[in-house]
Symmetry: C2
Subunit: 312 residues, 2 copies
């Protein structure tokens, strides 16, 4: 089938907004007013997913990787442009499943497709999604605003992707089945996290590369020191020793939000999170030194050699 | 070198705008006010360029493919996000040359980098660029607005890419050297074309897939008939017979703007184009039938079987 027929059949139905012009034009018009955040994430067959992974989870993970960045910046997902490098060997049933999952996942976050480019790829499947967001603060919440005395907060839990990988690769040690697919398709905080971050956070980022490496990045960007109490971190399936905690805290693909906020707001933050159904834990504090440090049951813990996923 | 070091060394210097936050964050903030056009174009090694093509022309072609879409919509290029799937085998000298050319080409069009995602690609080089533009009309000029009685206009000339391909592939029949590289790196109309289109065009698109196929698309989108006088089309290096004209008019990669405007404005349009250094030719007219038709020296010309590049 020709590219334009694919677009008309499978992607145009996802593009209902006026600015998308039914995907019949080379450009779209952004419909978002006020400060607009924008992010892009790419995924490559054999790197970010396996060629044999179900195509619907590939589509959903692509959307979630972008949504995660926006939620952490205090912005609600709005409009998406898709680049699709599609191998001819993947037939029409796959493009149908891909577009259905993409549209469904975008809708779940209140976003819609407004444009894109579909090309033939002799190289295997690659994808890139550009996603805009309505900033709920004056602009995107950055990594740079953490202040000494701030508390450090984390949404959700850490290690779901690692637990899923263990389960699938056979090392399943009685892990609850709920984590089985988390390495393929991360759980995100709810959409309400965007407004929560915009309202409360002095600095924020998502923790896609691993809790420790991302916490160090936030501390460095803000020019402060960040201390994590490992005992306060909610680990997927629990973690009963330092080694297990460090393994999960240095694994990537969790897509939760790490943020800082003034200590004086902590009671309000905990209460509002509970009211709004946002799972939230206070996992540490900011001081005026530099770097990352860890404690467990009141004692210092040495940093492991590798803090997370380093992009090669 | 790690991804973040590459970004800091080669791409962050291109991202001077406040919204880019020095490319140290996962999201950027759009800085454009008023109606914003947005477009995305991808290029794949072995499809849109050869692995052996100079990397600076690959960067420039990527930018120009997007700029062409914006100019044709009456928008001035503003902010770019780059997705780069980079094979490890391409070393640091290539990334340096790529980023320098990308930055230079964006600057030449008044645009700058504000974000992106760089991933390792075991699949060969692929690229995707998202580019926003400031609409100089109320929104993007669309393909849908052509009216019976409108004149059809074309910027620049058609066939440069074909002439360049002839020269390189050995079929050079005394073609001026100026076209030699045009198949690799298209000439675009000047930036002033954006305001010109916004001011005058009832419908517009770029002709990247071939003049005839794109003219048929515009006619179909507008629900009108479009007649092209082949004798009025400026062909690169000239064309002295119907067969030669049809070859050039069905070749792609020219990246000029095809637009329509009320006949009553024709004298003004011709004069202003001349004043503003925009090469422009009146190549046909719109009537209330449907489809595409061709004439040459007052006689009908049958449409060739293939009107241009059909995206597989």
């Amino acid at each position: 089938m020709a590219e334009k027929d694919w677009i008309a059949r499978y992607f145009a139905p996802l593009a209902k907004g006026q600015g998308a012009a039914g995907l019949r034009d080379d450009v779209a018009q952004l419909g978002t007013t006020g400060p607009v955040a924008i992010t892009v994430d790419a995924m490559v067959e054999g790197v970010h997913f396996l060629a044999s992974d179900p195509i619907d989870t590939v589509a959903r993970k692509l959307v979630r990787a972008n949504v995660s960045d926006l939620l952490a910046s205090g912005a609600e997902p709005a409009e998406a442009l898709l680049t699709l490098g599609w191998p001819k060997a993947r037939g029409e049933a796959e493009i149908a499943a891909f577009s259905a999952a993409l549209g469904d996942e975008l809708s779940a976050w209140g976003a819609q497709l407004i444009g894109g480019d579909t090309v033939t790829s002799p190289l295997g499947l690659f994808l890139s999604l550009t996603l805009t967001g309505r900033c709920l603060a004056d602009g995107p919440v950055r990594r740079t605003g953490a202040k000494p005395g701030d508390a450090v907060w984390l949404t959700g839990c850490i290690g779901g992707a690692a637990r899923g990988w263990e389960a699938v690769s056979g090392g399943d040690k009685g892990v609850a089945g709920g984590w089985r697919d988390a390495y393929r398709l991360p759980d995100l905080p709810p959409l309400a996290a965007a407004a929560f971050i915009a309202r409360h956070a002095s600095a924020a980022m998502d923790v896609s590369d691993g809790l420790l490496i991302d916490a160090r990045s936030l501390a460095a960007a803000s020019g402060v020191s960040l201390e994590i109490d490992l005992g306060a971190v909610p680990f997927a399936g629990g973690a009963d020793g330092e080694a297990e905690m460090l393994k999960l805290a240095t694994w990537g693909d969790d897509y939760q939000v790490l943020f800082t906020a003034p200590e004086a707001a902590s009671a309000t933050i905990a209460q509002q999170a509970s009211d709004e159904g946002i799972q939230l834990a206070r996992i540490g504090k900011i001081s005026d030194m530099s770097g990352l440090s860890l404690i467990l049951r009141g004692r210092n813990v040495n940093l492991p050699e590798t803090l997370g996923f380093e992009h090669g």
